[in-house]
């Protein structure tokens, strides 16, 4: 086939604006009419076709439920392959007063947790009510502190959501936490809320919760994940 014949053949096939020229079989030129606005070119049955782009869906599944007891660091591992995580910690306590709940990813104790947020203190009297901003870079995520006394009902809860877990770049996280404390016999509730960036580059494969003082003696860590 000469070049002039090829051009004539193409002209005969491409009859409308937006037409695409392709081979519907070996040595078989064909026309693909333009799709609708927003369509994307995809493949069906081995040939190109225009289609409505698929809307990504995200479904979380429970990966693990871990009781927090008998250790000061509890790690849930083999979490690779997921991009979105939700870590829920309920009713955590320690056998030692003034313990702080901390979280790390990939057992990373470097200064890779940069955050900004605020904390509140809600006490029974005015001098114990406050709201403070907080920001900085730490070697863990701070998720609340127990009071100077321990006892029934004096515990904490927290949730952390992490996005980008499957990437080899920075990952964003959001945290909410609250503890019911008892400083000098006057009950007080505290909260920490904010967002941050975890600057470790490795894809996330594990999460650790840490009791800064003493061993956990109660609580549950639930790990939910979505691809």
């Amino acid at each position: 086939m000469t070049r002039s014949r090829d051009v004539a053949n193409i002209d005969g096939i491409l009859t409308a604006t937006g037409d695409t020229y392709y081979a519907s079989a070996a040595a078989t030129p064909a026309r693909l009419g333009i799709g609708s606005t927003g369509n994307v070119l995809t493949v069906a049955g081995g040939v190109p076709t225009w289609a409505t782009p698929a809307v990504p869906t995200k479904s979380y599944s429970l990966r693990s439920t871990t009781t927090l007891t008998g250790a000061s660091t509890i790690t849930v591992s083999s979490l690779g392959g997921y991009d979105n995580f939700l870590f829920l910690i309920s009713d955590w306590t320690s056998n030692t007063a003034s313990s702080q709940l901390q979280m790390r990813f990939n057992s990373d104790s470097g200064s890779n947790y940069t955050y900004n947020g605020f904390n509140t203190a809600l006490g029974a009297t005015y001098d114990r009510q406050s709201i403070n901003n907080m920001s900085g870079t730490q070697t863990y995520i701070t998720l609340g502190t127990l009071g100077t006394t321990t006892g029934a009902g004096l515990n904490g809860g927290a949730s952390v959501r992490l996005d980008g877990g499957n990437s080899t770049g920075f990952k964003s996280y959001t945290f909410f936490s609250g503890t019911l404390q008892d400083f000098t016999s006057s009950t007080m509730a505290r909260t920490n809320n904010g967002q941050g960036i975890y600057t470790g580059n490795a894809a996330l494969t594990s999460v650790s919760v840490i009791s800064s003082a003493g061993n956990f003696n109660g609580g549950t860590l639930r790990v939910y994940a979505a691809v």
Binding site: R63, A71, S72, S77, L79, S98, S109, T125, D127, T184
Partner: protein, 72 residues
């Protein structure tokens, strides 16, 4: 102080328990935190004592003071 660590592998279901000594950084962090808590507790006790002394001088209770302030 001994540090006890647990690891749960979600794929194999295996639980590993490790016991080790604190690292120097962990010792420092613990002592710093204990000092911070002690200072906070002392400051709060001081505030509570000052409040109580003021209430005694005024001859009113804490509840009555809150009523005066219009708060809870």
């Amino acid at each position: 102080m001994k540090i006890i660590e647990k690891e749960f592998n979600v794929i194999t279901g295996e639980e590993t328990i490790t016991e080790r000594d604190e690292t120097a950084a962990e010792v420092k962090a613990r002592l710093d935190r204990e000092a911070e808590i002690a200072a906070l507790t002392a400051a709060q006790a001081e505030t509570a004592a000052a409040r109580q002394a003021l209430l005694a001088r005024l001859g009113i209770t804490a509840e009555e003071a809150q009523l005066l302030l219009g708060g809870n």
